[in-house]
């Protein structure tokens, strides 16, 4: 008897397990996010300037601001957000399998990633390029003089590939030493274990500022690669892609139109520029196409400021900033000769 009941129980458990794990139907991402009441936004292990923790344990940085902007656009509250920190190997899988709603983590927009991994890259929020850091007293002034040099590099990105390509193109026979963590990479370089460091120029500028004597080091003029860093979403949900894309455009347009975190209320109430009024939802029905509230862009600016303010805060001279000049770089507004250009909102 006892044995029979064992048999029955086992079968019952097996059946209930089978039926219990039902297959949930895939809603649109916006619906899923709204139902959850929380945006899951993926960043990487802390990386200065883009996403890092402060001593209170809160996330801050340029890419985190994109996450916050999207949350603000959807919920009107930038804190309805779960920041997921995912290792670089797992990043695309975690987005593809639905763990994350949005990826905003210094991912370089490349053709293979865009077309083969089931992702869609959107408007870049930072244009970077790979370069070299060397000691000033080494006498090197151009990357072409690095023949036979040892170069320190971090793994997990396209950096290694770019370095090898550069070395092969110019037959420099550079040998690379690969690290997991850039602190170890930098220490090796500082102790003389490498002749140069290669990495994205922006982050290297930040790192140099943390060296004991920053003045002893410099970034070489050559740029090895184009690195448009852009947020990405799963392929196939156009409405969701539009929301993220226009959240970034709203930041850029706001800067162009002179709308800041401080004056956004005033602008919405008393501006005479129809472009501003349409953007902030005081006029027209632009929000309907996105499926959001009409003050979605207002909420973004109110909570994060415009692109220029965000840049200044995290990349520029702000207290938490890396101190990288913006003028004259690709990240300046198109009016100032940069690449930051957003389609008009009308």
């Amino acid at each position: 008897m006892k044995f029979k009941s064992t048999l029955l129980t086992t079968t019952a458990v097996a059946v209930s397990f089978l039926s219990g794990v039902g297959v949930a139907s895939a809603d649109s991402t916006l619906e899923t996010v709204k139902d959850r009441g929380l945006l899951r936004c993926q960043v990487g292990p802390p990386s200065p300037g883009y996403y890092n923790l402060d001593s209170d344990g809160d996330w801050y940085g340029l890419d985190v601001s994109i996450c916050r902007s999207v949350a603000a656009a959807i919920f009107g509250d930038a804190d309805k957000l779960e920041i997921q920190s995912v290792s670089s190997q797992a990043r695309f899988t975690a987005l593809a399998n639905g763990d994350s709603d949005l990826l905003s983590r210094t991912a370089t927009w490349t053709m293979s990633r865009d077309t083969q991994l089931g992702l869609d890259f959107l408007q870049p929020n930072f244009y970077d390029g790979q370069g070299f850091t060397v000691r000033k007293d080494s006498g090197i002034t151009s990357a072409m003089e690095l023949k036979g040099a040892k170069v320190c590099v971090t793994s997990g990105t396209t950096t290694e590939l770019n370095l090898t390509d550069f070395s092969r193109q110019n037959s420099l026979k550079i040998s690379n030493v690969t690290f997991d963590d850039y602190n170890v990479r930098d220490d090796t370089y500082l102790n003389g274990g490498c002749d140069a460091v290669t990495g994205d120029k922006s982050s290297m500028a930040g790192n140099i500022s943390s060296f004991p004597v920053p003045e002893e080091h410099m970034i070489l003029p050559e740029t090895l690669s184009k690195e448009p860093l852009a947020p990405a979403v799963r392929h196939g949900d156009n409405q969701w892609a539009d929301i993220v894309r226009w959240a970034v455009y709203a930041l850029i347009n706001a800067e162009e139109l002179g709308v800041t975190q401080a004056n956004v209320d005033e602008m919405r109430d008393s501006s005479k520029d129809p472009n501003i009024l349409r953007m902030l939802g005081a006029e027209g029905n632009l929000h309907e196409g996105l499926g959001l509230d009409k003050d979605w862009a207002y909420n973004i600016i109110k909570s994060e400021g415009n692109y220029g303010e965000i840049y200044e805060r995290y990349m520029g001279g702000g207290e938490q900033g890396l101190g990288i000049d913006r003028a004259g770089t690709l990240n300046a507004l198109w009016k100032d000769g940069g690449l930051m250009y957003a389609p008009p909102m009308r």
Binding site: K150, E160, F179, G193
Partner: protein
């Protein structure tokens, strides 16, 4: 009797299930069915998910050429020519290389420290105790980075290279590694190798005969000197007779770095040091426990028949301690191989760093790459644990 048969009729309806064989058969079928179903369920889900998400599968990517360079490799490889299969092989060899040396070093060091722990020199035993406790109780990842940054990165820079061969420039040390002159055999060198082989065989024969004589007559003969002489003189004389057919590839400073010879990178040294020391601390504990587990009387008896302290250890105590030392020793080796996967922290290109990190980032294919990496580790561990099982079978106390 009647009672018993009555019982039997009553239980007839249940007898099928109460049969021991049926029951055990049922449980086994059930276990296999549940596990089989689970495996099938997971595989079908994975297949479905991969397809639904447009992620490509298969091992075709292994034949694609890899674009990145590898600093330390035992095989011929050039970026853009070598395939991901080559990258995999290089990673496997690098992992095996570091594991091999670390296993030898940690075992030697572990035995040494384990014996020192029992030394009657107070300071020595306390220092070895401190060694064991410190290195056992700090996570390995922290230790690896410590050795790299705190020790090997602080070696002199290239321009102030240390010459360990006292001016001969054959063995150089700086913070980019250890540079050694490397022999390049020329034509006719095979004769020297052959002579060396002959010498080994001869030495073994001599030893065999001496042991036989000892067993027969009890006479001990010292064959060590004779064998050594044979092993050194024979190959050397052949080497010179054939006209010294060996060139040296000497490291020379060229531009930024030393070129030529053989190089051992600081990452390798740091990894070797940390893995060896971490596991030596564990092995030392096993050795100590093993020695302590041997009855004190054994050592005392050995001393009383006039054996010297060294021989007491090597002939009486250690052989008896081995059965309890070997199992933890071998599982330490297994752990060491697995722990070498932390190499990425200091930039040593092992299989995890090359394949599961860099390659995975270039080509995706997470399932295949992680699967292959796990299969590799599994094979290595299974071989090591097969060794352990064979040993266990041999030394297991035979019970009734």
């Amino acid at each position: 009797m009647s009672n018993e048969s009555g019982d039997r009729t009553r239980s007839d309806e249940f007898s099928f299930f109460q049969d021991q064989r049926v029951r055990s058969g049922f449980y086994q079928v059930l276990a296999v069915a549940v596990v089989g179903w689970l495996v099938w369920y997971l595989i079908s889900n994975t297949a479905h998910n991969l397809e639904a998400r447009g992620m490509s599968t298969g091992f075709d990517f292994m034949q694609v050429s890899a674009g990145f360079d590898i600093e330390f490799k035992l095989l011929e490889y050039a970026p853009g020519v070598g395939t991901y299969a080559d990258v995999f092989k290089i990673g496997v060899l690098n992992t095996l290389l570091i594991s091999f040396f670390a296993i030898i070093l940690s075992t030697v060091l572990g035995f040494f420290i384990g014996v020192l722990r029992l030394s009657n020199n107070w300071l020595v035993s306390k220092v070895s105790l401190a060694f064991v406790e410190v290195f056992r109780n700090v996570p390995l990842l922290i230790q690896i980075v410590f050795w790299y940054i705190g020790v090997f990165s602080l070696m002199p820079a290239v321009k102030k290279t240390l010459d360990l061969s006292f001016g001969a420039e054959r063995l150089l040390l700086n913070n980019r590694g250890l540079y050694m002159a490397w022999p390049v055999p020329a034509e006719g060198f095979w004769m020297t190798v052959l002579a060396f082989g002959v010498a080994i065989v001869a030495a073994l024969l001599i030893r065999h005969r001496a042991l036989k004589r000892q067993a027969a007559s009890g006479e001990q003969s010292n064959v060590l000197l004779l064998s050594l002489a044979l092993l050194i003189i024979l190959p050397l004389s052949v080497f010179f007779a054939t006209g010294s057919p060996l060139a040296w590839d000497i490291p020379v400073l060229e531009g930024f770095n030393f070129v030529g010879g053989a190089t051992v990178a600081p990452a390798f040294l740091a990894l070797l040091a940390s893995l060896s020391i971490y596991h030596a601390a564990q092995i030392a504990e096993a050795v100590r426990a093993g020695i302590l587990s041997v009855n004190v009387g054994q050592g005392e008896a050995a001393k009383s028949i006039g054996l010297k302290p060294g021989r007491v250890m090597s002939l009486v105590v250690i052989p008896q301690a081995m059965p309890s030392i070997v199992p933890p020793l071998i599982s330490n080796w297994m752990n060491l191989v697995k722990n070498s996967s932390l190499a990425i922290a200091v930039g040593y290109p092992d299989i995890v760093s090359l394949f599961m990190q860099t390659s995975l980032n270039q080509v995706g294919h997470a399932v295949e790459i992680v699967g292959l990496t796990m299969v590799f580790y599994m094979l290595v561990s299974l071989i090591i644990s097969a060794l352990l099982n064979i040993y266990n079978k041999r030394v297991q106390l035979v019970e009734r």
